[in-house]
């Protein structure tokens, strides 16, 4: 029966095409001059360049981490190109009409029309192609509400004070090896600023696409929610199918000031590599948010792609009564390795966190939840609840749970539960007896397993995520 299930999990990677677009791509290699050139390409002010160079200096002194349970060949950082942009983007198109039609076609093929009238109503989108932001839609409408939504490169020019104040404030340059690298070479990403008391009128979304060969993508996202504001943001990612591994090392920083709410959702579908583990993206990402008094940050992620995933979207619950949430679905198959989870750092009084993690392992993959819940000495009355469920499909995969719990406060309560299960023969039989083919049955049971997480996604994307999982589960049943 498990063979049947595995076949049901067989899938095509639908976003695996390559777009023939003429690009300006740096020769591979990394040194100070490359960083100067990136900064120059973006016509950055001196302070930004200095910031990058300091990060580079730090990075040089750091050791490349070796992680237990994650195995991949050593990365040659000199074999990567750190900048690539479509030639047509060199003279900054002012509107969509000026954008290279091949670029637009790429996004159409991915199911993301960029003309506002064709887009999902109520969703504004920033589109990043390799190292540059192609377009940001609905800017005027957002501007009416005072919301800033633009590429981070643009923000460096237009809102230098905001960027200076918050960049690196949540994830310091020296935080870890890949965060330091990102700080030195980040190329583009999104910047969001929600003014005091504003409820962002639309969903904000960024779509990241890696296209060029041998390039790394190092995006940087910064979201600042002022007091009492509210924003929901979603990112999606895909890349062409290739035999070589590519590195994606992003940094995301969220700042939720008093009474603010940030909802951050990710649908990650980078190319996972083939059955034998050839090719695929190394997804080494640092995501962290800080919550001030009464603020709330909610991370939701659906992870189906990448050869290796290493990411722990985290919350620093600094302010009293602040809330952190983490909802995750990670599906691995083939030879994928996912090591993902969250860190909830409770510093303030009555802070609360909830962690729901659903891992599905199939094929020869390994799926690991790794998390930290920390109750500081001042976190009186803090609460955490964690639930980690694993679903194993077949006996050649692995499912692992490594939760670290630390408490220094006698009035804090931490609860952690983890279970493991499989798609049972009885469940499959019942579905088939009701007329469903095994493929549909497995997809339905797996979706049911993930339901608690899917219901956290913004409505516009819940369907999208369900479909993604469905594509992931689609295939031939012999």
């Amino acid at each position: 029966m498990s063979e049947q299930i595995e076949q049901a999990l067989d899938r095509k990677y639908e976003a695996g095409f390559y777009s023939e677009i003429e690009s300006d791509t740096f020769e591979s290699g990394l040194d100070e001059s490359i960083i100067r050139r990136i900064s120059e390409m973006k016509k950055e002010p001196q302070w930004m360049l200095d910031w990058r160079l300091k990060a580079y200096e730090t990075w040089l002194k750091m050791d490349e981490p070796e992680w237990a349970h994650v195995h991949y060949p050593k990365i040659d950082f000199q074999a990567i190109s750190y900048y690539s942009a479509p030639k047509s983007m060199a003279d900054k198109p002012q509107s969509l009409d000026e954008v290279d039609p091949e670029l637009l076609r790429t996004y159409e093929k991915l199911g993301i029309p960029l003309h506002e009238q064709e887009m999902l109503a109520g969703v504004a989108m920033d589109v990043v192609f390799d190292s540059v932001s192609v377009v940001t839609t609905f800017r005027e409408k957002l501007a009416e509400a005072g919301v800033i939504f633009c590429s981070i490169s643009e923000a460096v020019h237009t809102y230098p004070e905001l960027v200076k104040k918050h960049l690196g404030s949540v994830v310091p340059r020296a935080d870890n090896y890949y965060a330091a690298l990102n700080s030195a070479v980040f190329t583009d990403g999104s910047f969001v600023y929600i003014p005091k008391g504003v409820r962002c009128p639309m969903e904000l979304s960024t779509y990241f696409r890696i296209n060029e060969m041998n390039t790394g993508q190092f995006e940087r996202t910064l979201i600042v929610a002022e007091e009492g504001s509210h924003v929901s943001y979603l990112e999606g990612c895909t890349a062409p199918q290739r035999d070589e591994n590519q590195l994606h090392a992003a940094v995301v920083e969220l700042v939720a000031l008093d009474d603010a709410t940030i909802k951050y959702s990710t649908v990650q579908n980078w190319y996972p590599g083939d059955e034998d583990g050839k090719g695929g993206i190394y997804n080494f990402v640092t995501k962290r948010g800080i919550c001030h008094t009464n603020a709330k940050i909610s991370w939701t992620q659906v992870e189906t792609g990448s050869a290796v995933t290493w990411k722990y979207p985290s919350c620093i619950l600094k302010g009293d009564n602040s809330v952190g949430e983490f909802y995750s679905v990670a599906l691995t198959r083939g030879r994928q390795q996912a090591d993902t989870g969250t860190k909830m750092i409770h510093l303030g009084k009555n802070t609360r966190s909830t962690i729901i993690s659903k891992g599905i392992s199939a094929g020869k993959s390994n799926n690991t939840y790794r998390g930290l819940v920390k109750m500081g000495p001042k976190a009186d009355g803090a609460r955490n609840f964690t639930e980690c469920d694993s679903l194993l499909i077949g006996d050649t995969c692995g499912a692992h749970t490594f939760p670290y719990i630390e408490s220094r406060n006698p009035s804090a309560i931490v609860e952690h539960e983890a279970t493991t299960s499989k798609v049972s023969d009885e469940q499959l039989f019942l579905c088939q007896q009701r007329g469903l083919n095994p493929e549909k049955a497995v997809s339905m049971i797996v979706n049911g397993f993930c339901k608690e997480v899917f219901k956290e996604l913004p409505m516009e994307f819940a369907v999208e995520a369900g479909k993604l999982l469905e594509i992931s589960l689609e295939g031939s049943v012999g």
Binding site: M375, D395, R408, N409, P410, H416, A418, T419
Partner: protein, 419 residues
């Protein structure tokens, strides 16, 4: 490298007996691994600084030790004082089928048996296990014949009395369908450092009832472990009770080597003052159809610190395994601290595994209820919190041991500072 470890390595070169080849292996590993890195997963939360530059003294022989008795318990006592087997104060009337010999006094036949067991169950996980491999000149080998049931418990007593280093080892071999009760009873409060490791080979359909009491307090540092290998349909029922000291660490390994074996383990730790206690448990399901249930509960008061790591490892072939681990902790004070990490590592799909860990506070409602019935707050706290570990004490089937533990633990608890 540490000064202390260098000394250990040079001392170990002088040990030459029938175990020399195995000792040499561990010594080589010690030299390669060196002193644990501060970030090493094994010692991440347990500071070893007090040991690193330790200067160890020579022990002197002294006869005036009181071997603690457990009221109402008739036992066979094997007593080590500062790492030296003391036949003068041991009680050694052995029933039929139970064989015992000192490692440093073994006949050629026995030497063969000992070599077959030494280091076979205990993994070479950390530095102090390797130190024990290299340096434990004193130790006992215990074997129980097939089909033999021994009702009188066997107590292996470890007393740390003087400020010296002491390394002891117990190797226990239970024949097929045999039954044995073993109590590892260690204590000390004077400045000292001891390592005490025990390896158990539980034969087919054999039953072991096991206790380990690690009552080291103050400056009495101990690192030790009890390691079990279960053959087909073997049964293990084990209870650990620990206090904390400057450094107190126990490693437990339960290895399912044969199918349909059943292991149950309960652990209690009760920490006061500035004590540290660290328990690392690993459950290895290497074959199908095994069952393991582990419950660890701790109360951490004052400035004490507890570290718990509980790992369940289900190997590819271990289908139909049932494994559960639960760790519950109560912090009594603002300066107390707990690091707990339950781990699941699973490579088989048709298994039932679960773990849970909680850190909780005293139930305010229950406290209020008791106080409204005119029970003073301090007394009410004792009643409520102690119930939490008492449950595990009550699960002990041996009546004299239960009756001996209860008042001892509740007294220790009553003296802890609450909030």
């Amino acid at each position: 490298m540490s000064q202390w470890l260098n000394k250990v390595i040079s001392d170990a070169r002088g040990v030459d007996d029938f175990l020399a080849p195995m000792r040499q292996q561990s010594l080589n590993k010690l030299e390669t691994d060196g002193w644990p890195h501060a970030r090493s997963e094994e010692w991440r939360f347990t500071p070893l600084s007090s040991l690193k530059e330790r200067v160890s003294n020579e022990s002197s022989l002294d006869t005036s030790y009181n071997v603690p008795q457990i009221d109402g318990l008739e036992s066979i006592d094997i007593v080590f004082v500062d790492g030296v087997l003391r036949t003068d104060i041991s009680k050694l009337s052995l029933p039929h089928g139970l064989n015992l010999c000192a490692i440093n006094n073994a006949s050629t036949d026995m030497q063969d048996e000992i070599s077959r067991l030494f280091g076979q169950v205990k993994p070479s996980r950390h530095v102090f296990g390797l130190v024990n491999d290299a340096l434990c000149e004193q130790g006992v080998y215990i074997s129980l014949d097939d089909n033999c049931e021994v009702d009188t418990p066997l107590r292996i007593i470890n007393i740390a009395a003087q400020d010296c280093d002491a390394h002891t080892r117990a190797l226990v071999n239970l024949g097929e369908n045999s039954q044995l009760k073993v109590i590892e009873h260690g204590f000390g409060s004077q400045a000292s450092f001891t390592t005490a490791f025990a390896e158990y080979m539980i034969g087919k359909e054999a039953k072991l009832e096991h206790y380990r009491f690690a009552f080291f307090t103050g400056a009495a540092k101990q690192v030790g472990g009890s390691h079990f290998s279960l053959q087909e349909r073997a049964n293990l029922n084990s209870t650990f009770v620990s206090y904390g000291s400057e450094l107190s660490r126990v490693d437990v390994d339960i290895i399912h080597a044969g199918q349909h074996a059943n292991a149950k383990m309960n652990a209690i730790y009760l920490l006061a003052e500035g004590e540290l206690f660290d328990m690392h448990s690993t459950i290895e399901h290497a074959v199908p159809n095994g069952t393991t249930q582990e419950n660890a509960r701790g109360i951490i008061g004052d400035k004490a610190r507890a570290v718990f790591s509980g790992r369940i490892h289900i190997h590819r072939d271990a289908q139909k395994t049932l494994a559960e681990l639960n760790n519950r902790n109560l912090l009594l004070s603002r300066r107390a601290m707990i690091n707990t990490k339950p781990e699941l590592e699973i490579y088989a799909d048709d298994v039932q595994c679960a773990h849970g860990a909680t850190v909780a506070e005293i139930e305010e409602k229950a406290l209020y209820y008791l106080m409204s019935r005119s029970i003073p707050r301090s007394k009410a706290l004792v009643m409520l919190n102690f119930g939490f570990v008492q449950e595990l004490v009550n699960a002990i089937s041996n009546e004299p041991i239960k009756q001996w533990l209860l008042p001892m633990l509740s007294e220790r608890f009553a003296n802890m500072e609450v909030k």
